[in-house]
């Protein structure tokens, strides 16, 4: 018997949710594993068969990583200075997550804010006045295609010369510049959605250019700007290579800090890394929650009814 329309539709719907559920599992599993591992005692990190949900949940990883509770003994692979009895320089450098968090917040926050600000202004110019030709716009995007490793050598030499190596300013500048193309492209796509006639209507009703942008364009692209902000924030927040190579000791960011969690005797200390990772992820989730009402609109591109 042939299926009716509504049967067909509900079959399709079941199929769709089935596929989406599988996709969700694939995407969510690493998150689940990260959170799970962060609560596991040392022995369960490598256990086989794997421990999915630990029965011996412990806060130890968090305490060691974030509260610097000194259960971090020789058994964990720390070097104790035999003369003074204090943790050696090497191990101390392992334990600056709050410094890294502060640095990451400052660097990613400032770089992203500036990228979206400048990107938005540039995008407006491109969208309305073609200040950058289409070809140039693609070249701009191509800049992002260059593998960062290619740029590292010249930039670090140059940074050393002008004293930006291992400074917050240096990383902010670089992050700002590398995310600017994304910002311009994303913002442009949102501004393009606002019909020119809408601005002209405001203009002829007596609004100045700034007033028009403030009252008409900005409210209509706000969601887009917020989506752009989050997108770039995630990129800069988790950037590793540039941060690793352009900072030595002073400017430690969270991804770099994360990579330092390995002991010399037992290899990677996964539980500590997981505990740090959870800490790295929470601010992003928090930002996402604050701006969530904009995200659905922003990421679906285009909200203006034509």
């Amino acid at each position: 018997m042939a299926m009716t329309m509504s049967q067909k539709r509900s079959t399709f719907s079941v199929f769709r949710y089935f596929v989406l559920t599988i996709w969700l599992l694939i995407v969510a599993f690493p998150m689940f594993w990260m959170v799970g591992t962060s609560f596991k005692p040392d022995k369960e990190w490598f256990a086989w068969p794997p421990v999915y949900i630990t029965e011996n949940a412990t806060m130890r990883n968090y305490l060691i990583v974030w509260a610097n509770i000194n259960e971090y003994t020789k058994a964990d692979g720390a070097h104790i200075d035999e003369k003074t009895g204090e943790l050696s320089q090497y191990t101390q450098s392992l334990q600056r997550p709050w410094v890294a968090l502060r640095n990451s917040t400052i660097i990613a926050g400032i770089a992203t804010t500036f990228a979206v600000l400048f990107g938005g202004v540039l995008a407006y110019g491109v969208s309305r006045h073609n200040i950058i030709s289409e070809g140039k716009m693609f070249q701009l995007l191509m800049l992002r295609m260059v593998p960062p490793i290619v740029l590292i050598a010249p930039i670090s030499l140059w940074y050393r010369q002008i004293g930006l190596l291992d400074t917050i300013t240096g990383l902010v500048l670089l992050y700002f510049l590398t995310s600017l193309p994304y910002a311009v492209w994303m913002c442009k796509s949102f501004i393009d959605e606002v019909p020119r006639e809408m601005e002209q209507a405001a203009e002829i009703l007596g609004a100045s250019r700034w007033r028009t942008i403030w009252e008409i364009v900005l409210p209509l692209v706000r969601s887009g700007l917020v989506a752009t902000f989050l997108f770039i924030l995630i990129l800069t927040w988790s950037e590793y290579l540039l941060a690793l190579l352009l900072s030595k000791a002073e400017v430690l960011t969270l991804p770099v800090e994360l990579s330092k969690y390995q002991g010399s005797t037992e290899g990677r200390v996964y539980g500590r890394q997981a505990a740090l990772s959870v800490g790295i992820t929470i601010p992003l989730i928090f930002v996402g929650l604050i701006i969530r009402k904009h995200l659905a609109r922003g990421f679906s591109f285009g909200m203006v009814r034509r």
Binding site: E197, Q200, I204, A207, L220, R306
Partner: protein
């Protein structure tokens, strides 16, 4: 007093000349309609008056002073756009008072004017809605209200009705007419719809390829077109235009095509010999039932009630149309004779220019 003068106005986009040295004076209180096919330069002309396009050359004068370098907001204009261009994030009332706010009008006066204007265009019941909740016709009324409320001396309307369906279009057309009569302001209206032009305009400006082809009252344009283009553009159903040749026939001139041979009377004696076009409006064609076996047969009968349209097949892709009274009885396939009263004949030369008797 408000008078718009365009002097040698020209606009080029790269190598394309959109408007070619246009001269036009629009008098105070006049309802003028710029009409023509798309790409004829009518919208560009309007946008230059508004100040959204900079003229390549020429002058725009409002009340005698040149405004070429004035910002749109300083030109004392109101404009209604084809897309309505309502602000989707503001409710209807906020949309309407936007212009007043920009001009720093006090809150109380804003409210009072909002009341007045929404009564005028009959949208008082919509004020708290968002634009997305309003229909196309309502949106256009709101757009009108938003423009009206600032009381500009001149109204520019850029195909304001073309996104609406036929019934709404007629309704709002009447509205435009009423508003113009009530406000006594200058209206410059752009459309590609000849019917809108005919019904609304005090004066029609017909444009084609960036130049003004003809200017005049609707009835002038209709009854005395200067060219094939104008003749073809105005009137529904359109004028019958038959390509053929003017030949000498004894002492007189005759129009000859494959299907029509029309002797022309002595007032056309100066018509140059050669190819050209013969034109007659469908309502002027006299249809006579034939008894002597004419080979002209009615192709299709389209009764409209008051009138009936008769279609005759031709060699070209446009049929020959005659309009007869709805009470006359015709059937498809029956033989008829067609007569063309000499006073209703239009002749055009091979360039499309009108040949005057």
């Amino acid at each position: 007093m408000s008078r718009i003068e365009l002097k040698d106005l020209r606009k080029e986009f790269g190598s394309v000349v959109a408007v070619k040295d246009l001269n036009l004076t629009i008098e105070d209180g006049e309802f003028i309609v710029l009409v023509g096919p798309s790409g004829c330069g009518k919208t560009t002309t309007l946008r230059m008056i508004a100040g959204f396009e900079d003229p390549t050359a020429g002058e725009i004068k409002l009340d005698g002073s040149i405004v070429n370098d004035l910002e749109p907001r300083d030109r004392d204009l109101g404009m209604v756009f084809q897309s309505h261009a309502l602000f989707p994030h503001k409710n209807v009332a906020d949309n309407i008072v936007f212009g007043l706010r920009m001009k720093n009008v006090g809150k109380e006066e804003q409210l009072q004017k909002l009341q007045e204007v929404s009564d005028l265009v009959r949208i008082s019941h919509l004020l708290t809605k968002m634009p997305a909740q309003c229909s196309g016709g309502e949106s256009q009324r709101i757009a009108l209200a938003r423009t009206l409320v600032t009381e500009p001396s001149n109204f520019l309307l850029d195909e304001p009705l073309s996104s609406l369906d036929a019934k709404l279009r007629r309704e709002l057309r009447a509205e435009c007419d009423r508003l113009h009569a009530e406000l006594q302001k200058t209206f410059v209206y752009v459309t590609h719809d000849q019917e809108e032009a005919m019904t609304l305009a005090d004066r029609i400006v017909v444009m084609d390829q960036g130049v003004i082809v003809q200017m005049g009252s609707p009835i002038d344009i209709y009854s005395d077109p200067v060219s094939y283009f104008v003749a073809d553009f105005f009137g529904n159903p359109a004028m019958n235009l038959i390509p053929g040749e003017f030949v000498q026939n004894g002492s007189g001139i005759e129009f000859k095509s494959d299907q029509f041979n029309v002797p022309l009377n002595e007032k056309f004696s100066s018509v140059p010999i050669g190819s050209g076009t013969f034109g007659i409006r469908p309502e002027n064609v006299k249809v006579v039932s034939s008894s002597n076996g004419s080979d002209r047969k009615i192709g299709l009968v389209e009764p409209l009630g008051k009138d009936t349209l008769l279609y005759f097949e031709t060699d070209s892709d446009r049929p020959f149309v005659a309009v007869v009274d709805g009470t006359e009885n015709h059937t498809a396939g029956s033989p008829v004779e067609l007569n063309f009263p000499q006073e209703n004949i239009f002749l055009f030369d091979s360039n499309g220019d009108r040949i005057r008797a």
